[in-house]
């Protein structure tokens, strides 16, 4: 069982967004049993409205997709993905949201009429 709360966080751009943050409930094995009970620094960072690591996660995904499509040069590229914010003692992780064990990234590429996908360069052309 988990409990969730909605918290407001500040993106690195300065924009405010609301994030659903799940906390492991008493039924979660990792939260049961013996444990030291200082206040969690990671949760405090999220509660303070900060998301360390967020910029790097977003930039990494977008740059990877950009690199994958640079040879076909779309006029418009849309990337949809989810980020899971996980607060654990000592650090805040932002990772690609998983569904059934698979990370989902939906990429849509489009070209304006007449522009068309760029021709593939000839492999091994440098020789």
């Amino acid at each position: 069982m988990t409990t969730a709360q909605i918290v407001q966080v500040t993106l690195p751009s300065g924009d405010l967004v609301w994030v659903r943050m799940e906390s492991p409930g008493p039924g979660r094995d990792s939260e049961r049993g013996i444990q030291d009970v200082a206040l969690g620094e990671a949760a405090a960072v999220v509660h303070a409205g900060l998301l360390p690591g967020f910029t790097e996660s977003v930039r990494g995904v977008v740059t990877s997709v950009q690199h994958a499509l640079e040879q076909v040069r779309p006029d418009v590229m849309t990337v949809e993905f989810g980020i899971e914010i996980t607060a654990r003692t000592g650090k805040v992780l932002s990772v690609l949201a998983e569904s059934g064990g698979t990370a989902h990234i939906r990429v849509t590429a489009s070209w304006n009429p007449g522009s068309g996908p760029a021709p593939r360069p000839v492999a091994g052309g440098e020789g």
Binding site: V7, V37, L39, A44, H47
Partner: protein, 285 residues
């Protein structure tokens, strides 16, 4: 105001919230001598010299971690494991207003003692850190890999996040019997582990010991409360041979009545509560 209420207010006066310097709250600490406070080592990451800020009713006190038992580099805990024993840190206050100091017991508390802990957690709205108290019952002891450190076990109370470093008050003697360091389960009333006061007194340096004694000689409010509670104890507690001791399970009502026996010496399990009825049926312990 009853002696118990007075003792609880003195406990509140010596308890503070511990923050990282210019950072978020980390847990609880309590003053043990003028210019000194105690907390759990894991609250400050086991780091000597770490700058911290203590926040309480009269104001705030900047300070730093003067000593740690043991330091983090002397046996860092594995992830998810409790900090190595005894898990204590001494905070040296650099500045700030005068403050109350805890009156620490120099003996092991009686089995079954009723206690309260006062700490700072995020339990009101999940965001704001506020002070709270929780009652427990002393249920036993726990030996650790350190032969010089045997912890006290509390039951019948919920030790939530933020309670690390909280002083624990014996409500029948008026003395602080130790410092809460670890929850036995944050989601239930299974209780906590406590570093006993006698071990804190053994470890603190002479400056702190002298400061604590001098403080309570000059400000005898806490000692007077303790003396009054000691005087009253024989009057309110019926003779052991005629007292009724009722024992109830955690999640149930009273199930058994045992007559006779010396309740103070009973070692009861984590899931069992014991209390003796006063002749007038009001007091419990």
């Amino acid at each position: 105001m009853t002696d118990r209420r007075t003792a609880e207010s003195l406990l509140a006066a010596c308890t503070v919230r511990l923050d990282a310097y210019d950072g978020p709250p980390r847990g609880t600490a309590f003053f043990v001598a003028p210019g000194y406070a105690m907390t759990a080592a894991h609250v400050v990451g086991g780091a000597r010299g770490l700058p911290v800020q203590l926040h309480g009713r009269p104001g705030f006190w900047p300070g730093h971690v003067e000593n740690v038992w043991p330091p983090a580099d002397a046996g860092s805990p594995m992830s998810g494991q409790p900090y190595p024993p005894p898990d204590l840190a001494l905070i040296r206050i650099d500045d700030g207003p005068a403050h109350m100091c805890a009156l620490l017991s120099d003996r092991r508390p009686a089995g079954g003692a009723a206690v309260i802990a006062r700490g700072h957690g995020r339990n009101f709205d999940g965001l704001t850190v506020t002070a709270e108290t929780e009652s427990f019952t002393l249920t036993g002891e726990l030996e650790t890999p350190d032969p010089d450190c045997t912890l006290l076990k509390l039951g019948l109370g919920q030790a939530v996040r933020g309670m690390s470093g909280a002083p624990v008050l014996d409500v029948s003697t008026g003395e602080v019997i130790g410092m809460l360091r670890t929850s036995r389960d944050i989601g239930s009333n299974l209780g906590a582990w406590v570093v006993p006061a006698e071990l804190i007194r053994r470890l603190w340096p002479d400056d702190v010991r002298v400061g604590n004694e001098r403080f309570h000689e000059e400000d005898d409010r806490w000692r007077r409360v303790r003396a009054s509670m000691r005087e009253q104890a024989p009057l309110t507690a019926p003779p052991a041979s005629s007292g009724n001791v009722s024992i109830g399970a955690v999640h149930g009502g009273e199930v058994t009545v045992i007559t006779g026996g010396v309740f103070r010496d009973l070692n009861i399990g984590a899931d069992i509560a014991g209390r003796r009825r006063d002749p007038d049926g009001e007091g419990t312990r």
